[in-house]
């Protein structure tokens, strides 16, 4: 398993940056042959997590990485902020819970959309959410 270094790192400071993250993620997903459905899932999850980074984490960065595995390619997205962190992770991951009048489906929905999901957070120290999407059938590229 080889880890290809970060393909791209995109700052998230404004609403326009979220559009930039979506575009960058879609480009990388297309470049490694993700199907239209998978592209849409990756872009949608990226949109949710980028917005959380901005709205709840006060801004941060998105890293887009590719990882070649034995019979597949993984597209990994790391969203990092140094905001307030999440006090109650279980609550934050509950469908419909939102501290800010949203639908409360971003975090939980991104977890369902992704093949792999990791959430690291500590109150007062920020939040890092990592999601990975695996292109299982490289032959179909």
């Amino acid at each position: 398993m080889t880890i290809v270094p970060t393909v791209r790192e995109v700052p998230i400071r404004t609403d326009m940056d979220i559009v930039g993250v979506r575009q960058a993620v879609r480009e990388v997903a297309v470049s490694v042959g993700f199907s239209l459905v998978d592209q849409t899932k990756v872009v949608t999850a990226a949109s949710e997590l980028a917005r959380n980074t901005l709205k709840h984490g006060g801004g941060g960065t998105a890293e887009i990485e590719l990882e070649e595995r034995a019979d597949s390619t993984a597209l990994r997205l790391v969203f990092r902020d140094e905001g307030p962190g999440i006090g109650d992770v279980e609550l934050a991951l509950r469908d419909g819970y939102s501290s800010s009048g949203g639908l409360g489906l971003g975090l939980s929905g991104a977890r369902r959309l992704a093949d792999e999901f990791d959430l690291r957070t500590a109150e007062g120290e920020g939040t890092t959410v990592t999601v990975a999407f695996v292109n299982r059938d490289p032959a179909a590229r």
């Binding site: 559009v19 849409t40 899932k41 369902r112």
Partner: protein, 284 residues
């Protein structure tokens, strides 16, 4: 800017009065303000010249704000608005005939004609024409800014057009990234039109939206709810397969909002709702 002495000014004024027909003829021939009707060209040249005379008399040939250039401004304004094809008149062409006539005029005054006075006069005339060019440029810049402003306004409106499909049936095709400003504009636009057109059905078509995340979904739901409060039912159409799958996994529930695969399906549904029937014409 040099201050031209009073006697030079007097002489310039005399020159401009005496040689007026020659100047106007030369200006018309310079083909700067070419109109289909030569009488129009003559008329406009006369107004420009009158302005120049007034400004020079007041020693203000370099001041584009002087009232002498106000008349010129309205003439040049019509020139700017008429030059949509991009061709712009080159007012510099007014200068050589004017200076040639001035030199001739001085020479005819006798052996001492081409003195310092002549040079000062030429400078003043030259400055006046340059000021005309500056006025034209100002007008062109204003017109350009105006065009940009109008286009920007059109774009904001264009991105969220509300289309009347039938009596009581409106459609709003949402396209591209729905940033919060644009989705706000779209909602306001739609609600206004629902009232204005007494619409009973409003179709939100999202064929052109690349991804529906929670923010877009919440926007659609809020719009549908607001429309309902105003007495119109909302239908969401154009949910493509990949978007439908993603929305399901994300956990988005559009609740009571009706959805249809295509805009055509949505229109059929809307017509039935408003009491219309679509039947095929057996006789044709």
């Amino acid at each position: 800017m040099t201050v031209t002495a009073q006697d030079v000014r007097d002489e310039l004024a005399e020159f401009l009065r005496e040689r007026r027909p020659d100047i106007l003829r030369a200006w018309s021939e310079a083909n700067v303000l070419s109109h289909v009707d030569p009488a129009d060209t003559e008329q406009e040249s006369a107004e420009l010249l009158a302005g120049v005379v007034q400004a020079i008399r007041d020693g203000a040939e370099g001041d584009s704000g002087h009232e002498g250039f106000s008349a010129a401004r309205s003439v040049l304004g019509t020139v700017v608005s008429g030059s949509r094809d991009g061709a712009r008149p080159d007012l510099a062409a007014l200068k050589p005939p004017l200076l040639r006539l001035w030199t001739e005029h001085r020479r005819s005054a006798g052996p001492d004609g081409l003195t310092e006075h002549a040079v000062d006069g030429a400078v003043a005339l030259s400055t006046a024409v340059d000021t005309l060019r500056a006025v034209l440029l100002e007008l062109e810049v204003d017109a350009g800014l105006e065009t940009i402003r109008a286009q920007r306004e059109q774009l904001t409106e264009l991105s969220t057009p509300v289309i009347k499909l039938w009596d009581g049936v409106l459609a709003i095709p949402l396209i591209g990234t729905l940033d919060s400003m644009r989705s706000q504009a779209a909602t306001e636009n739609l609600l206004e039109q629902i009232v204005a057109q007494q619409a009973r059905v409003a179709i939100l078509d999202i064929t052109g939206v690349p991804a529906v995340d929670t923010m877009v979904a919440q926007h659609l739901l809020k719009t549908a709810m607001a429309a309902r409060l105003m007495g119109a039912e909302c239908i969401i159409s154009g949910i493509r397969p990949q978007i439908a799958q993603t929305m399901v996994q994300l956990g988005i529930d559009l609740g009571e909002v009706a959805t249809r695969a295509t805009l055509a399906d949505a229109l059929g549904y809307a017509l039935r709702t408003t009491g219309m029937a679509v039947v095929s014409d057996q006789h044709s």
